[in-house]
Symmetry: C2
DNA sequence: GAAATAAAAATATCAGATGTTATTGCATCC
DNA sequence: GGATGCAATAACATCTGATATTTTTATTTC
């Protein structure tokens, strides 16, 4: 199974054989993608009840489709399914945020090491392109233009994916995609971003990866995620 | 979301708040558990088409329920959902087996280290009990009694879970539970087991964990999984 | 104010109808 | 004979609506 994430081009219901792992793709308009987006971006609040009748109106879908979607999201951990009591947006907590960040460090750094070891010229090319696009967007953000947060986050996702894409494990990329999205929900909840520090960390990981400096790249990525965690935790109240 | 696995007591559709991560629990008789069991134990062959009408007869469930179940399993990676072409049991491959085993090493060893660091007296007690039960069953298997493979695998699961259960991360336990089940499917496909070596490795991990010898425990666990991988790969043909 | 009970709401499951897409079999053509 | 095009069939995806069960809410009673 190829990795799925919100920025995914393909329809979640119709995975094709393309190898590109996907996250946060707001292009998709399936019920699955729309609900997942709304959970990640906080339009559906953590812990809130997902009444089927309400969802029916809101997403203009039948109960069958909605239940299939909610079962999928429950399996991924964005929705809690309680027998005979319906569906709820998975609650958030500091502990959970901690766990997600730690797992992201574990998996993403591991994948980065593999990717740097395996990456070919195409990998480098994609990485350069992804960093360039992210960097342009980051400049805009630093100038105070906060109108394109979703685009910004898509570029962030595409950069982090480009880093690890040559790791050689689709299973690893799949797990990472889900973790990224869970982490992203927390980032969206606190809605503060770290500015120049994060930009510089991106640049440093990028440079080290291109230079095939595994240790520097992995260490910097670890710091990058952990600083993001601290930043989120500081702004986060249960 | 608490970890789910085949040996799970609770109904997959009705997760409660109990913290016990679950795998291969054949007690459950929900459609979800029955189909998942049949995939893992090879009664539904890798790659085979899951025609809804056939499943309807076989599991005596309505199309709605089946589609919800298949969506869940698709999300976990046991089923492939192809748009307008229906559902298929996820195919197997040597590469996939490799990936699964490597991820299990990464996550399970990491969790074991945390667990040894955090584990209290209850953890030790559970671990002793789990190893004892597994060991008894292993003796039976060594004597040639192959009539209780599912029970044996449940005890194996419970032992590996007991090792890592004090890791302090529900997210980690969830990811591990799915990986264990995927790995188990490959073990069931080749249907050969390793005998005394594996028994001794279990004993060694167990002793090291109780002695809080993190390095020995993690190294032995790594060897245990990797030897299992080699053994499965040798018997596995695409 | 708490406990028991009745009413309402919501869920889970099912059956059946409809439109769409994929697959299959057959005839045709080169 | 093999490839191509077309019709018939099968299968999927979605929706509506019905029923039984369970949970939640409101009301009554003590």
């Amino acid at each position: 199974m190829a990795p799925l994430s919100l920025f995914c081009q393909r329809n979640a219901q119709s995975p094709d054989e393309s190898s590109m792992p996907k996250s946060l793709n707001l292009v998709g308009t399936s019920t699955y993608q729309r609900i997942k987006r709304d959970i990640i971006f906080g339009d559906l609040a953590p812990g809130s009840k997902l009444k089927l009748d309400n969802l029916r109106e809101r997403y203009e879908a039948s109960m069958s489709t909605l239940r299939e979607t909610l079962n999928r999201l429950a399996s991924e951990g964005f929705v809690d399914a309680l027998d005979q009591r319906g569906f709820f947006v998975t609650p958030v907590s500091r502990e959970d945020l901690h766990e997600i960040a730690n797992l992201r460090v574990l998996l993403e750094c591991h994948a980065l090491r593999l990717s740097i070891a395996n990456g070919d010229t195409d990998w480098e090319g994609n990485l350069v392109a992804a960093h360039h696009k992210l960097h342009l967007m980051e400049q805009k953000m630093l100038e105070g233009d906060n109108s394109q947060i979703e685009d910004w986050k898509r570029y962030d996702w595409e950069f982090h994916l480009a880093l690890i894409e040559a790791c050689g494990s689709n299973n690893l990329l799949s797990l990472h995609a889900v973790l990224y999205d869970k982490y992203l929900r927390y980032q969206m909840l606190v809605l503060t971003h770290r500015g120049e520090d994060a930009v510089e960390e991106h640049r440093k990981v990028f440079k080290a990866a291109l230079a095939r400096d595994v240790e520097t790249a992995a260490d910097t990525l670890k710091v990058h995620i952990e600083k993001g965690l601290e930043h989120s935790l500081a702004a986060f109240t249960d």
